[in-house]
Symmetry: C2
């Protein structure tokens, strides 16, 4: 095992440190966040910081930084109060990744990448996604330690390929071809390896 | 595509809703969080809500609920100010899962599951993990929407199998056999499918 200390991390070149630090959580989910601005112009940006906050109500969090391509996403969420999360699959991976490019103001990532808008009420979904959800902004928590924010949304609507949803509430993520990522350059498919029963204390 | 509305979600039986809602983020990383209480008794609990908050300093967040087995973890983190995240691999998956059982006060999950403590300064690591990190508590943000908390930690020390770390800072997560999960009962291995260059605007 190699030990990397705090001093080692701080001595890393910036891009090396970003690559390293963003790999620490492991294999992360990645979604395209869909929004629209006050003129109705749509926006898509990949986020790999989506986290489950609770089930009743169903709440999801994600972390945003104001100084990146995510700035349009954040201002749109604040203005409209709504956003969507659209999971990727192999067929739209390259278009999804391309949404991380810094397009000029006035250009929609849908138009730039060829992904298709599917609008439903206040929500701008990616039509090609097989698993997507619409959320209402509930709260924004400033993270003082580094100036980021935790965006908290309540799930209002979920759309998923019908065959993937089981009666027990579980969703067949590998069957949907869902993609996960690390460091926003490397993408993975998942292979189910085990389903384990609810754990109870036992003699080992 | 099947649409599931807010009313549908609220009408679900509790366990169905938990299964459903915790699947929404997609394939999530899962770690064992290692802590000790003021008597030095160690504790391990699986968390699948670890998220990258920033790279400089390297900050990770995780969401904790006070009403579950995680309550020991939370009180230990508050008391000691330190904790570890230990990634799982196939060889320790069942022991890791078993750490979610509600052991009585006074029983260490290390002892109960046969995992081995590796102590280093204030950190209680899982010796069998191939990728683990020690963190210092930086902040706790109450999430008023549902009474959970975001625990924010600064990475102090990372230990990783030497062959998995590249000079560019990337970490070979599939090579480490890292496991991800959904709904805390289904576990996945990851297969790398693409590594894409930094995206720039282009004609499509």
């Amino acid at each position: 095992m190699k030990s990397i200390t705090l001093d080692d991390i701080q001595a890393m070149e910036k891009l090396v440190r970003v690559q390293f630090a963003s790999s620490l959580p492991g294999v992360k989910p990645v979604c395209l966040v869909g929004t629209e601005n006050e003129d109705g112009l749509s926006n898509l940006a990949p986020f790999s910081s989506v986290v489950h906050l609770g089930s009743n109500p169903a709440l999801l969090g994600m972390v945003t930084r104001p100084d990146t391509v995510e700035r349009h996403t954040l201002s749109n969420i604040i203005q409209s109060g709504h956003y969507t999360l659209n999971h990727l699959h192999r067929g739209i991976l390259e278009q999804g990744h391309q949404c991380s490019a810094r397009y000029p103001h006035g250009v929609s990532e849908f138009e730039a990448t060829g992904l298709t808008e599917a609008r439903e009420g206040p929500f701008v979904f990616v039509a090609e996604s097989r698993f997507r959800m619409g959320l209402k902004l509930v709260d924004r928590l400033p993270i003082e330690a580094n100036g980021t924010q935790l965006i908290i949304g309540a799930v209002q609507l979920v759309q998923v390929a019908e065959a993937a949803l089981s009666e027990n509430g579980s969703i067949d993520l590998p069957g949907l071809g869902l993609i996960s990522s690390t460091a926003l350059d490397t993408y993975f498919e998942s292979v189910e390896m085990a389903r384990l029963p609810y754990a109870k204390p036992k003699e080992m």
